[in-house]
């Protein structure tokens, strides 16, 4: 699992590439939290266009980050999930709190 975090103006894009499960989640959580704690952004985008697999671990990660990002007053978005990841996010009701976009 590769996680690249790129800042552009007041937007941060976290691009996940690979398979997100309980094993790979540890490093992902740490890297995301480190970037979120630095601040200096108004929008935070989870770019899922290269996320090949995700189980419910991904839901936990999104909900966990959502609280901190909301507290920081940021807009939160999920971009371009594949159909299977999209199905899991829909089932969990994630789109009720995080907007889906296409970058």
């Amino acid at each position: 699992m590769q996680l690249d975090i790129v800042s552009s103006g007041d937007t941060v894009v976290a691009k996940l590439d690979g398979e997100l499960d309980e094993h790979t989640a540890v490093a992902v959580r740490e890297k995301l939290d480190k970037r979120i704690s630095v601040g200096g952004f108004r929008n935070f985008v989870f770019d899922f266009s290269h996320l090949k697999f995700m189980d419910s671990t991904g839901i936990g990660i999104l909900l966990g980050r959502y609280k901190n990002l909301k507290r920081a007053g940021a807009g939160i978005y999920i971009s371009s999930p594949n159909p299977h990841v999209d199905k899991i996010l829909s089932l969990a009701g994630i789109y009720r709190i995080i907007q889906k976009i296409n970058l």
Binding site: E22, F53, D55, I59, G60, L63, H84, I88, A92
Partner: protein
């Protein structure tokens, strides 16, 4: 009919290997991409439960998988010899988790039952848990 039995260390590093192995095992039933993704997710959820909840992350334990393809169906039995579940009905409720502090979504069993055609959970506190899942893939095995 074809069968496969696996005994593997209860280590989360094995999760990707296990879900890929189950997906490869059912390829002879000619599943769609969506069916393969459903199966991989369900297996990943079940394996994670064994390691994180059954054995609470302790090393030196094993997860057991009993796979069978027969008559267009894939059946998967995943079991552990861990702590078991006190209240299975409660565990099956969406968003229920015993570990809210660890960012558990409580969606594991919900995804398993949604993505598979049949799911059953048998658990004995102190002895372990067995999850039985069936996916109807369609094509009859020659």
């Amino acid at each position: 009919m074809n069968k496969l039995y696996i005994k593997i260390s209860a280590d989360m590093a094995n999760d990707a290997f296990i879900r890929s192995t189950v997906a490869a095992f059912c390829v002879e039933l000619d599943p769609t991409v969506e069916q393969i993704e459903d199966i991989k997710t369900a297996v990943s959820e079940a394996f994670t439960n064994c390691v994180i909840h059954g054995y609470e992350g302790k090393s030196g334990n094993y997860v057991y998988l009993d796979l069978c393809v027969d008559g267009g169906k894939l059946s998967i039995i995943i079991s552990d010899g861990g702590k078991g579940i006190e209240n299975v009905q409660q565990a099956l409720e969406p968003f229920f988790t015993t570990k809210p502090d660890e960012e558990r979504s409580g969606m594991g069993f919900t995804l398993m039952s949604t993505f598979m055609d049949e799911m059953r959970v048998d658990s004995t506190p102190g002895k372990g848990t067995t999850v039985t899942m069936v996916k109807n893939i369609g094509k009859e095995v020659a």
